[in-house]
């Protein structure tokens, strides 16, 4: 006699591995992530319906999923693609460094840290600003060190370009995505002549002015980079620039309003 029930039991099979994550993503109980290329190699980009929530160098998917769960208390599952709503802005940020307005989900961060990150996101590619400038810009002058900590803990590097905020003395400072050296790599990839900038900073030069327009800028501001050598004025402080009859650039805002 054929044991039909026993043979029927062998028809029981495990569900495909993507089914459980798919259900959780569709009920909104899981966040998702994709792997995207970047100047530092492939990165994992996790996102919620609001925007990008975590970025790491792509290494071990299981480790990334575990860290995500531990940090946000939400399961994370791989997705095939970014939603159409997020994809263009995220790709602009990762591929071209155009981070202004990139959708990020900064829920769970302090108001201070979120303000630091939002301001940093507006620094154009290939340009840098000192920590103290960010502190001034968000209305917290003197909080340079806290700004540095907030940027070091940036959960969404590249999408929020914390690599564009550097020390006042011209050294590039810490960087959270992989090694500190990646900061230089990213800035060079964005077209910044890092050594020239470091040379100026090492001589104590903080601002560059144009003798024709009488406007002064951060040295990496796109307007400063257009000043011809013969018309270039160097300043150690904003006060010195003002005393020489120069006004601050409206784009790079060398002196907080």
């Amino acid at each position: 006699m054929t044991d039909v029930p026993a043979r029927l039991a062998t028809l029981r099979a495990p569900a495909p591995a993507h089914l459980l994550p798919g259900v959780l993503a569709r009920t909104g109980l899981a966040d998702r992530y994709v792997t995207r290329p970047s100047a530092l190699g492939p990165v994992f980009v996790a996102f919620t319906p609001r925007g990008v929530s975590l970025v790491e160098l792509a290494a071990d998917p299981a480790g990334f999923e575990d860290r995500y769960l531990a940090r946000f208390r939400r399961p994370l599952v791989a997705a095939d693609a970014l939603p159409a709503r997020l994809a263009p802005a995220v790709d602009r940020a990762l591929e071209g460094g155009h981070t202004r307005g990139a959708p990020v989900d900064l829920q769970g961060l302090s108001e201070f840290q979120a303000a630091v990150l939002r301001r940093a996101a507006e620094i154009p590619p290939g340009e840098v600003r000192p920590y103290g400038w960010v502190a001034d810009e968000i209305g917290r002058p003197g909080s340079d060190r806290a700004v540095g900590n907030a940027l070091a803990a940036n959960p969404v590097p590249l999408v929020v370009p914390c690599h564009r905020v550097v020390r006042a003395d011209g050294r590039l400072g810490r960087y959270s995505l992989g090694a500190d050296a990646n900061k230089r790599l990213l800035l060079e990839a964005e077209g910044l002549e890092v050594e020239a900038y470091e040379g100026l900073a090492a001589r104590g030069v903080r601002y560059l002015g144009s003798a024709t327009t009488h406007i002064y800028c951060h040295p990496t501001c796109r307007h400063a980079r257009r000043i011809t050598a013969s018309h270039r004025a160097e300043f150690r402080t904003a006060t010195a620039a003002a005393q020489a009859g120069f006004r601050p650039c409206r784009d790079c805002r060398p002196q907080a309003a």
Partner: protein
């Protein structure tokens, strides 16, 4: 994917009543293999089985959001989710009959991964034969047999999920098994 420890099915109604979003992934994990395997045999297609399983859990999740906690705490979860899944399977089986398409290739060679290649081929052939005979049973018998012997529900659970009296379900399973046995023995 790690989501902490597992919660046993018996403890889940209380956990879902207390915190739906935290407990729900445990519910899916506890039931998904059975729902998928059963749906695969009731729809005959992996794509349909995946869709049925997804849809059943999403409907369950939405329903839980509308139930008061006392109702959730009293749910018999396996039969409840299967009530939804069995209806979805039945609707698909009907529309498939109206709009027939090429059946998808079914899993094969999975049942005896340790056996040699020849034995695997034989086992796969036997498996396909069983599946083919199962697919030819009338819905009443097929649904009862699949829920009882593929998905592993008790008779009481099958009866609740299919909204039929327990006695009827037992008779359906009995007839279905007898038919399968005869068909299989005729062929060998």
């Amino acid at each position: 994917m790690a989501t902490g420890g597992r919660i046993a099915l018996e403890a889940l109604p209380a956990a879902l009543a207390a915190d739906r979003d935290t407990a729900f992934p445990h519910l899916v994990r506890a039931l998904i293999d059975g729902i998928y395997s059963g749906a695969l045999r009731l729809t005959g297609s992996r794509a349909d089985a995946e869709e049925v399983a997804q849809e059943a859990f999403i409907r369950a999740y939405r329903a839980l959001g509308t139930y008061p906690p006392e109702r959730i705490a009293g749910l018999r979860l396996r039969e409840w989710v299967w009530t939804i899944a069995a209806n979805l399977c039945r609707n698909r089986a009907r529309s498939r009959r109206r709009h027939p398409e090429e059946p998808l290739p079914l899993d094969s060679g999975m049942a005896h991964p340790d056996a040699g290649p020849e034995a695997q081929v034989l086992a796969a052939a036997g498996q396909e034969m069983l599946e083919a005979h199962l697919d030819r049973l009338p819905w009443a018998q097929r649904s009862a047999v699949v829920l009882r012997h593929v998905a592993g529900l008790s008779y009481a659970e099958v009866a609740a999920a299919l909204a039929r009296p327990v006695g009827t379900v037992k008779a359906d399973v009995h007839r279905g098994l007898r038919q399968l046995r005869e068909s299989l023995e005729e062929e060998s």
